[in-house]
């Protein structure tokens, strides 16, 4: 960060490439949110790198006027890991989809999260394969009829946040494409986290899976179906903020109506730093039984890979002194023939 850095605006992050998503695609909203958040981070434009895999969402880098790398299917976390280790000063963002991240790229995703590389992973989850024109994805619901499942899908879906938590994610959050203020706040939280920030964004594909998220995307429905989590605050939701989440025993969450002897004090208070088990419980709360939790589900401090690598390089160099080629080659049992 330089003190004399020019003030950046959204337009500075708009590339000269024509955006080619379908009209009405949720990706537009996410792109706009990212282009609004980037200039506020105090990072020079040249220090951003956006990396992606393959799929509709993976066209993202072409539209952001930073350094960008459109990779191959599922492998964005690998490329981004190399970039971040090579230069920890860079702010590295991954745009990926449910097929890209969770199916073909599942292995890279969990290992990147496990290593806690300081990357921001934006999962555009539309629960469908869009670019290949409408096959079910690893987040498609059981029984879903798609082009490749005319009689309904018999695959059980992943819960992406639970998967990330299973890999001991240090930051896990969820937002929705069209909730602009919430999405921007979540992106900012992801940026501020030192380590892998995994953000699931419900994103509507209006061509192949339209209305998939209506119950918490549509204005008239969302308040009753969404629980916006805030650290240290009781879990209250509903249009009239009259419902909440209470823990039965120490294991089972239940939805309760406030009043009739039940007060805010009886409700679960969100703690971003609590155990993986707690965060996983939240990750698995889904409609219709529960409201869909949004916001930061887990945020804990943990050493990041690229920092640990740099620290170790420094430690060994302090111990042994900076390596000299001569000493490396002319080493061991050497002998001279004259």
């Amino acid at each position: 960060m330089s003190d004399s850095a020019p003030v950046l605006m959204k337009k500075d992050f708009v590339s000269d490439q024509e955006v080619r998503w379908c009209p009405g695609c949720g990706d537009y909203a996410i792109l706009s949110a990212v282009q609004q958040v980037f200039p506020t981070l105090g990072i020079p434009r040249e220090n951003f790198v956006v990396v992606s895999g393959i799929g509709c969402s993976s066209r993202f880098p072409y539209y952001v006027n930073t350094y960008g790398f459109h990779g191959i299917h599922g492998r964005a976390p690998s490329i981004a890991t190399g970039v971040k280790i090579a230069n920890p000063e860079l702010s590295v963002w991954i745009a990926t989809g449910d097929g890209d991240a969770l199916s073909i790229g599942g292995n890279h995703l969990i290992h990147t999260i496990r290593r806690n590389v300081d990357l921001n992973i934006l999962l555009f989850d539309n629960r469908i394969y869009g670019l290949t024109k409408g096959q079910y994805s690893p987040t498609s619901e059981y029984g879903k009829k798609t082009k490749s499942t005319p009689f309904g899908s018999v695959d059980r879906p992943f819960n992406p946040l639970s998967l990330a938590l299973g890999a001991n994610a240090s930051f896990v959050a969820r937002s929705v494409d069209v909730f602009a203020p919430h999405l921007k706040e979540t992106l900012l939280d992801a940026h501020n986290h030192k380590g892998t920030a995994f953000v699931q964004i419900f994103q509507n594909c209006n061509i192949f899976n339209d209305h998939a998220f209506d119950e918490f995307r549509e204005k008239q429905l969302r308040d009753d179906n969404v629980l916006v989590l805030k650290h240290g605050e009781p879990m209250i939701f509903g249009k009239n903020r009259d419902r909440g989440i209470r823990l039965v025993g120490c294991r089972h969450p239940e939805v309760v109506e406030l009043g009739d002897g039940i007060t805010e004090k009886d409700l679960l208070v969100h703690d971003e730093t609590a155990s993986v088990a707690y965060a996983t419980m939240l990750a698995h709360m889904e409609p219709p039984e529960y409201p869909m939790p949004l916001g930061v589900i887990r945020r804990v401090e943990a050493p990041s890979l690229e920092r640990a690598i740099q620290d170790q390089l420094q430690e060994v160099t302090d111990l042994k002194g900076p390596g000299k080629l001569e000493e490396l080659i002319y080493a061991g049992d050497i002998w001279t023939v004259s």
Partner: protein, 619 residues
Amino acid sequence: MEAPAKSKPPARSVEKLERVVIRFAGDSGDGMQLTGSQFTATTAAVGNDLATLPDYPAEIRAPVGTLAGVSGYQINFSSEDIFTPGDAPDVLVAMNPAALKTNLRDLRPNGLLIVNTDAFKKSDLKKAGYEVNPLEDGTLDGYRTIPVELTRLTRTALLETGLPTRAVDRCKNFFALGMMYYLYNRTLDVSMNWIEEKFSDKPDIVQANQLALKAGYAFCEATEVFQTTYEVPAARLAPGTYRNVNGNQALALGFVAASMKSGLPLFQGSYPITPASEILHELSGYKNYGVVTFQAEDEISAIGATIGAAFAGKLGITTTSGPGLSLKQEFLGLAVMVELPIVVVNVQRGGPSTGLPTKTEQSDLLQAMFGRHSESPCIVLAARSPADCFDTAFEASRLALTHMTPVIVLTDGFLANGAEPWRLPDLEALGRIEAPFRTDPEGFQPYARDPKTLVRPWAIPGTPGLEHRVGGLEKAEGSGNVSYDSVNHERMIHIRERKVDAVADDIPLAEPTGDSQGKLLVLGWGSTFGAINGAVRRARADGLDVSMVHLRHLNPFPRNLEELMKRFERILVPENNTGQLAFLIQGRFLQEVTRLNKVQGQPFKESEILDAITEIAQG
């Protein structure tokens, strides 16, 4: 430590030899690799030229005493130049019946055979599939057999240590090593010092191994088990400073050298695979040289991270073996498309699939050339000897960085594990490597090219004003923007091809060894160099009209290769595959060649190539 050599009685005769081949063979748990590498270290220290062939099973511990569990280590050492680990051993040390059974056929007639008779009990014989004890049934007629109670003698020698029998028995390889040092009038110093350093935190093990080593030596002295001992004088190697090195070590050092000469920190992404893992082990120790090693979750991620590091301006390398290269090929296609410099090392092994993972083969040349989807040319290089791995790694890095394109380096299990004296390079003469970095935003286009080399600029993240996007989609010439234009696509295909072809202007012409024309040219690549070179020398000494060219650059070929081949009546192409270079030569140049192929997981013997040369040259 004082070597007992000084007090040796002068009565016994000492015979001078020019060269000797010894093979140590035993169970995987008998420490044969250690014994062999110790003999090698001592041999290097006395100044012999040498070449080694470690040969071990894929299983870490196959059932004890079985044929599958036999591990061997062959060393050829000489007072003259040598190029191979030797054809037939002069001496075989067999620690058990299984080792005897699998190795005896290689021992030369009247060769010296040292057997641990304590390991020839009925049950041992059964495990090796012997019905009758081969020590007693005439199997060993025709060899000079020295039966030694290695186990019992080691136990006796180590009685004073009070160590449990299991620990004592593990020292018997040092007893055998001590015998070999006596037989070849070698100093014990190198191994004595090594033991002391290696086990510095276990003084009882130091004492035990040193006792066993000295006991083996003293046993020979006292019993006159060998009527004659031998001496192989130091070789007249070219003047210079030497160290003993295997291919994987030399390769690692070559990359560090390239990193320092280019000023770019080295990034290695890798996933463990035999026989390439040692490169990762080596490089992970060089942190004070700025080397970052990333052990990825799989082969794919290893190259993906390497490409990411290259995008960010590092010298990116990834190291693997054949099956791993298959997994990396999709990413290699991306590297071709985005035109970033990476080096991919393939330490070839026997295949297909898991094949013979610990054995050597040269069967990935066509995979390196054509294993990717679509038209995606890479530079392909091959190393010819363990020490040459250093130069090949350096050359690969230079070509990748200056031509902005992926380079595949082919070595193999034979080079990776085989050792030879390495004449250390003049580090000044290596020269600097200048990559085409771009920092000037004025008129910047990510896919604008140098008109001669067709190389595009390298603009790395963090450089103000050069923000741009790369990716797997086809690019418009110049701007690098996504382009679906069909004519542009064809043009870009040809540009990428011509760019790699233009590398031929930046590599040396092929230089024949021998004559520049004649009856027979032996054309080789990779680890067959030693056997071919030895065979061609012997054939020429016999007056045969034969010359050789050994290729380091396999794509593109040296500019003069076609013209050079036309000056010979016949071309012989020996390969440890079914004819992959031959296929390329025939396809590229319509050049008729004679193939000589061996795919047994073992390198060529000099004699096998000499026989083929002789047949053609005299025919």
